[in-house]
């Protein structure tokens, strides 16, 4: 790693101030940023550790019944504390990495990073969650702007993520055997008025909504509705050692059908 100064603000306000420093970067759980810095592929003059800020940790329900998760909440906390309020999300969090990674990695870090194979973006997009920062609220539909790119401005910190809890939901993950991130994973969220389907791991543009499936499922929420569709276009799908675009496109359909089945 290149050296940097580490600051540990105890409050959000202090963190916002610390982020004003030249070339400052937020440090969530460090489970992505630190390995990247070790490879000397990222550097910062100042790292602002968010882990001591209690006000951006924890889970509650707001007046609209939305599940509000602090940006600094670890995957382990979501796995444990959302098991009843939003089981599909708890199950997603419980399958990220391994127990030690889940004890450090945070939802804010995952959404800020927007890895094209990350899990949380699928849940956020499928639920059209609201990503909250110190400055504003961003709807998930406007937040994910392509692989590793989001609507966040420099110095913006994800302080909270608000999920409208679906009537039924399921996250179906097919792992890439080396990294154990999703090779393809699909989050299906069924609301009274709509069904939303978000896909991660597949596209080189990052997480996306599979509109055809949403349309089909809105009329007929069943596995068969998915099976009747053709797989999404393989163009633009990630093609790598672990599977080409055609295979990934095929998996999108299979994972989606399985997610719907599991919702029932």
């Amino acid at each position: 790693m290149y050296d940097f100064e580490l600051v540990k603000p105890a409050s959000l306000q202090e963190a916002i101030e610390a982020m004003q420093a030249e070339d400052a970067q937020a440090l969530g759980g460090g489970q992505t940023l630190l390995p990247t810095m070790k490879a000397r592929l990222a550097m910062a003059d100042t790292l602002v550790a968010l882990s001591a800020i209690e006000e951006i940790k924890g889970i509650c329900t707001d007046d609209d019944g939305r599940l509000c998760i602090g940006g600094g909440t670890t995957h382990a906390m979501v796995q444990r504390d959302c098991a009843e309020s939003f089981p599909a999300l708890a199950s997603l969090a419980g399958r990220i990495g391994d127990p030690a990674v889940r004890n450090r990695g945070t939802i804010g870090g995952s959404l800020a990073n927007n890895d094209p194979s990350a899990c949380y973006p699928a849940a956020a997009l499928a639920c059209n969650a609201t990503i909250v920062t110190q400055n504003r609220e961003i709807a998930a539909d406007d937040y994910f702007l392509g692989m590793f790119t989001t609507a966040l401005e420099e110095r913006e910190i994800v302080t909270e993520v608000r999920f409208p809890v679906p009537e039924a939901a399921h996250y179906e993950k097919f792992i890439q055997p080396a990294s154990r991130f999703p090779l393809v994973a699909v989050f299906v969220a069924k609301y009274s008025d709509a069904v939303r389907v978000a896909v991660t791991g597949a596209s080189s543009d990052g997480v996306f909504r599979w509109n055809e499936a949403e349309a089909a499922l809105s009329g007929n929420f069943s596995e068969d509705a998915v099976k009747g569709l053709s797989a999404p276009d393989a163009d633009g799908m990630i093609s790598d050692l672990h599977g080409d675009g055609a295979y990934r496109a095929h998996l999108v359909k299979v994972m989606c059908a399985r997610a719907v089945k599991a919702c029932a």
């Binding site: 890895d115 093609s239 790598d240 050692l241």
Partner: protein, 817 residues
């Protein structure tokens, strides 16, 4: 009541306590006073000419002690190769120079160009980035078949081309084999790839060089499977340090699997720099660095043809293999596709005519050398796949086809230059069928089908040759070293023993199993025996641990040295009891005179050896210490039968291993617990090769699987519990313990079981897929089921893709800055 001591018992491993409490002492745990750190600048292109290196800026940086380049090693030898192969036409193999630091050209991604020695590792890393290197990129040769075409770019300008050697076994049989294949009732042909792997011991390599000027001694602490071999190779061939001025220590070593046999440039560098700077110099490999600097394994492309007569007897076998050497010849690389592979092509079968051709090829990739099994997994895989395919083509039971062709009489001289001493292939097959419950398979398959899954059962036999030796034979075959093992047994006055062995333990449990042998022979408690290994100043000589040779060869040396100790002790006992030597018996730590009630304890005799008041000084010297060099007269030939049961998800192509059974014949077993553990580990690596692991390069020679993000290491939930058995025993006839090696069998026998099982599963679903190249990833299986052949028949097990997970995550994070 199970035995709790001696040969055949499973005492708890004594080394475990230090490992379980964090007190192991691995090379990276060693920090010497005044130690500096080295970081290597490595090539990021596969092939290029170095036009300039400017180290000025780096040298001026904080903490930097010195920057070394290839020029600094002009007076020093290159990294030597320990084995020479002779081609069909009688010429010796082409042997390129292998400089410690690249000189003139870089030849693979990871080739070291310069080395920065600094006060701290981070400072050395910082300075590495300040070195200005200009490299003129040259076209890389990656595909082996393209590499040997006329006009292909040459990896080494001074060589005639990229063909290292073109070898045939047995050349005189070639025509007869060709004729038999033309005349056969049926010929089954298969083209396949044995995927390139990375050994990945969990401990990355580390080297610490030290030098003391007052006595002009160099010391190297290194993660090695064979410190004496490193002392010889590095001292004599690279640095010109005589062995008596050089000490090599390999303390606790965190796994080796072959890749820590070889002498590496980093070891020579640290030893050299420590002397040049008169400071200890330490190098610790990162995992990413290991991927591009540890020797890789396997990487064969083979065509195999099996001829059968109308009764399904195997009549002839012919193979043609391209074997990747990488950019330089690693220590034992040339022997792996030849003597460790060609000689095994008879397998368990009495095929009368066999011809093996191997073309070894230089490419712009990391050097390839022995990895667990080395050559034998490649042989077993081809043979057991082609036999399975033949059974499928002929519509006969694959087990019966094997049984019909099994060798049943021993000793058996194969048509490929080796003689099997013992074996009973029907016995291990019988045991296997019981372990895997073959009779219950149809019902299990029906159960899977009811759940929409395809179930398959793959069965195969294997034989391997290990306990590699004898010296006179390997000498004829091109080895530049002897392959004996040595042991010194020192008995102290109070009766305790210190056994200095040339074998090296890096997980095998020698500290526990070797005392079992010695204690059993003398009849004393095992805790009276201490094992010393891994230090050339403490152990007189050693060839090290690889090729499953520790117990078969190293253990036999210990046995012989202990025999000598006992013989001398009997003389002392005879003197004390005033009896004749021949009448002395040793049992339970007590010497007795046959037919009398006279006895003297072990401890009294050992004391007498060092306090020789009442002692036959006119016949023998005081003291009780003996050395033996054991040079066996043949390999040992473990064999067995393996079975794998899988379920394939037809929607995704994902393969799940539901059961794996292994019935091995290892001859006599000293510690059944350790033997089982060795088999488990081997199975995991073999199943890993079959389903998960693949070291892949793109066409430009960039390593695609450059970290655990893309190189799939098996995890706990990739496996079921294994059913392993080693109760079928035909003891080795030529070593005193009757043991055969057990360290590699699991990795040798298991890949074909997995692939056979998947092919069987797909066939049950109506997918007549002849073969799928390893690793059988979900994508490959799914494509195969749908008529596609991704990566099939490629001359290289590489994928066709530019992207990797690692690149992607890294790129992403960088843009976030």
């Amino acid at each position: 009541m199970p035995k709790d001591t001696g040969i055949g018992a499973s005492p708890k491993r004594r080394e475990d306590v230090r490992f379980l409490t964090g007190k192991g002492r691995y090379t990276d745990d060693i920090n010497l006073a005044g130690q500096a750190h080295v970081v290597f600048l490595r090539s990021d292109v596969a092939h290029g000419r170095i036009t300039s290196i400017d180290t000025g800026a780096a040298e001026a940086m904080e903490g930097v002690i010195r920057v070394f380049t290839g020029e600094d090693f002009a007076e020093v030898g290159g990294i030597p190769c320990g084995w020479q192969i002779t081609s069909i036409d009688g010429s010796v193999m082409q042997e390129p120079k292998h400089p410690v630091l690249a000189h003139g050209k870089v030849r693979h991604v990871g080739d070291p160009i310069a080395a920065v020695v600094a006060e701290t590792r981070d400072q050395a890393k910082d300075a590495c980035e300040a070195i200005e290197v200009e490299i003129e990129s040259l076209p890389a040769v990656i595909d082996m078949k393209a590499a040997v075409k006329p006009g292909a770019p040459k990896v080494h300008d001074e060589l005639a081309g990229n063909l290292c050697y073109d070898w045939g076994l047995v050349q005189e049989n070639k025509e007869a084999v060709d004729r038999a294949i033309s005349a056969a009732a049926h010929v089954t042909t298969l083209e396949l790839v044995n995927n390139r792997l990375i050994a990945n011991p969990m401990e990355p390599r580390v080297a610490v060089g030290d030098y003391t000027s007052h006595d002009d001694h160099s010391t190297l602490y290194t993660t090695s499977q064979n410190p004496h071999v490193i002392r010889l190779l590095m001292g004599a061939f690279v640095l010109g340090i005589p062995e008596h001025k050089l000490r090599v220590v390999a303390p606790d070593v965190g796994g080796g699997f072959g890749t820590k046999i070889f002498h590496y440039a980093e070891e020579a560098f640290c030893t050299f720099a420590a002397k040049a700077l008169e400071r200890p110099v330490k190098w610790t490999s990162s995992r990413s660095e290991a991927f591009m600097s540890d020797a890789h394994g396997r990487d064969h492309v083979t065509k195999i043809e099996l001829a059968l007569d109308a009764e399904h007897n195997f009549t002839a076998l012919r193979t043609e293999t391209y074997a990747n050497m990488g950019a330089y010849l690693s220590t034992f690389a040339p022997s792996v596709p030849t003597w460790l592979h060609g000689t095994l092509m008879a397998g368990n079968y009495k095929t009368p005519l066999i011809y093996v051709n191997v073309k070894a090829v230089f490419t712009n990739t990391v050097p390839v050398d022995a990895y667990r099994g080395a050559g034998r997994p490649e042989a077993t895989f081809q043979l057991e796949r082609v036999v399975d395919k033949a059974a499928r083509e002929l519509g006969v039971d694959p087990v019966e086809l094997r049984r019909k062709n099994f060798i049943t009489e021993f000793p058996y001289a194969t048509p490929v230059a080796v003689e099997y001493d013992t074996g009973d292939y029907h016995a291990t097959m019988d045991k296997l069928l019981e372990l895997i419950d073959r009779d219950g398979f149809p019902a299990r398959r029906a159960g899977s089908e009811a759940r929409g899954k395809l179930r398959g059962l793959g069965i195969n036999s294997y034989i391997e040759a290990c306990g590699i030796a004898p010296s006179h034979l390997v000498g004829q075959l091109g080895a530049r070293a002897g392959l004996y093992e040595s042991a010194t047994v020192r008995v102290n006055a109070t009766g305790g023993l210190v056994v200095m062995t040339g074998s090296h333990s890096h997980g095998q449990g020698h500290e526990t199993s070797f005392p079992q042998v010695v204690a059993d022979m003398i009849g004393i408690p095992e805790d009276q025996v201490e094992i010393v290994h891994g230090d050339t100043d403490k152990v007189p000589m050693g060839m090290g641990t690889y090729g499953s040779r520790s117990l078969a060869v190293g253990g036999s040396a210990i046995y012989r040295a202990t025999e000598k100790v006992i013989a001398k002790a009997k003389k002392i006992a005879a003197h004390i009891m005033e009896a004749s030597d021949e009448d002395i018996e040793l049992k339970d730590g007590k010497f007795t005179v046959a037919g009398t009630d006279k006895s003297v304890a072990w401890g009294d005799v050992t004391l007498a050896a060092y306090v020789p008041h009442n002692y036959p000084l006119e016949d023998i010297e005081p003291g009780l210490e003996e050395t033996a060099f054991y040079d066996p007269n043949n390999f040992t030939y473990p064999s067995g039968a393996y079975a794998c049961e899988v379920e394939v998800d037809p929607e995704t192509g994902k393969v799940e291993v539901l059961a794996f059974a292994a019935a091995d014949d290892f001859g006599n077993v000293v510690n059944p617990m350790i033997v089982e553990g060795q088999v488990h580990g081997g199975l995991a690596q073999g199943i890993g090769q079959a389903l998960l692991e693949s070291c892949a390069y793109d066409a430009d020679g960039q390593l695609l699987s450059a970290s655990y993000m893309d190189y799939a290491m098996p995890r706990a939930h990739d496996f079921p519990m294994f059913a392993v058995d080693s109760s079928c025993r035909t003891p080795c006839t030529h070593n005193p313990l009757g043991v055969k090696g057990c360290g590699e069998a699991g990795a040798i026998g298991s890949p074909p079981s997995v692939v056979n099982a998947v092919i069987d599963a797909l066939a049950s679903g109506g997918h007549d897929v002849g073969h799928i190249d390893m690793p059988l990833t979900p994508a490959r299986v799914w494509h195969a089921m749908h008529g596609g052949t991704p990566n099939q028949r490629a001359a290289q097990p590489a994928a066709h893709s530019e992207e990797t997970t690692h690149d992607r995550s890294v790129a992403g994070a960088a843009t976030n800055v």
